[in-house]
């Protein structure tokens, strides 16, 4: 085993173990803010996996959008709903047992299926030299293998989500001050 292979193997197990431990913390921590930190650590490990598999550009997006955007958004949600002071009420042991059972059943079935399936590589052609450039060309390609329509749909979805979030978060405020407004009008 060469030095590069050894480093690859070592990083895989190191980041894998860290990701699993952080994920367990994210789903079982009593304090919801600690769960958010666990999620952030898992996502950073995910970016490390992408780098190990040679997708640096995706790893950068993962850090920028997932860790820098979504986790921060979740932390904001925790602050705004003041859940950080609340300690998660423990789920009933029956519910917990059922959840563990479902998770373990899924794990066992999936791993069995994965081991039994014989995956064969479609091609052994090397990946493109500049992945970010190739991705950009694919996104804006209007041909049959291009993704310009999904790209436009996803931008529309993001716009709709932003406007929808503003409307949802606003409507309740208007409703709660509705009586006050009525008084002022009278």
């Amino acid at each position: 085993m060469s030095a590069g292979d050894f480093a690859y193997t070592l990083s895989f197990y190191f980041f894998g173990v860290v990701a699993v431990i952080a994920a367990l913390a994210a789903v079982s921590s009593d304090r919801i803010l600690r769960a958010a930190v666990g999620l952030a650590v898992t996502l950073v490990c995910g970016a490390a996996f992408y780098i190990l598999l040679n997708y640096d550009f995706i790893a950068a997006i993962q850090i920028l959008v997932y860790v820098g955007g979504i986790v921060v958004l979740i932390v904001y949600a925790i602050m705004l709903t003041s859940s950080s002071e609340l300690v998660e009420s423990h789920p009933g042991s029956f519910r917990k047992a059922l959840a563990i059972l479902a998770a373990i059943l899924f794990l066992v079935f999936s791993v069995t299926a994965l081991i039994k399936t014989n995956f064969s590589a479609e091609s052994s052609a090397p990946p493109p030299d500049e992945i970010a450039r190739a991705l950009g060309r694919m996104i804006l390609d209007t041909g049959s293998s291009g993704y310009v329509l999904p790209f436009e749909i996803i931008s529309l979805l993001l716009l709709a989500a932003v406007i929808g979030a503003m409307v949802i978060a606003r409507a309740y405020r208007l409703q709660s001050t509705g009586s006050e407004k009525g008084k002022r009008g009278a």
Binding site: D5, T9, F12, Y13, V20, A23, L24, A26, V27, S28, A35, A36, L39, T42, L43, G46, F49, Y50, L53, N54, I58, I61, Q62, V65, Y66, I70, L73, I74, Y76, A77, T81, S83, L86, E88, P91, L98, A99, A102, A103, L107, S110, F119, A121, E122, S123, A125, P126, P128, I131, I139, Y147, I154, L157, L158, A160, A161, V162, A165, I168, Y172
Partner: protein, 105 residues
């Protein structure tokens, strides 16, 4: 079975992360905990896409592109979920999912 991480090692790792997410979705009481578990599951799905891309057809980049779409959808989902939680918290003073029964028939 060698220790060198091949195709199966990566897939088993992402499956483990996905099962942890399943456990979180089913056992959490706080809606934000459920959201965090869903993000875990989305992330493990994205890892799966990348692994299949790398080991099945490394010349194509469709799996990597799907990861970009997954991240965008996850961002949209987190934004809407946060708005809903804040709105529900304003009117009900709780984000406990077992208390959300407004739409119960």
């Amino acid at each position: 079975m060698s220790w060198y991480p091949g195709f199966l090692h990566w897939l088993v790792l992402s499956t483990i992360l996905f099962s942890i997410g399943i456990y979180g979705v089913l056992s959490r009481k706080s809606a934000l905990g459920v959201l965090i578990a869903i993000e875990l599951m989305l992330n493990s799905t994205a890892i799966n896409f990348i692994v299949f891309n790398r080991f099945i057809s490394p010349a194509a980049l469709d799996g990597a592109l799907m990861v970009i779409f997954i991240i965008a959808v996850a961002a949209a989902e987190a934004v809407v979920a946060m708005a809903i939680f804040v709105a529900i918290f304003r009117s009900r003073k709780t984000v406990d999912v077992s208390q959300f029964d407004t739409m119960k028939g």
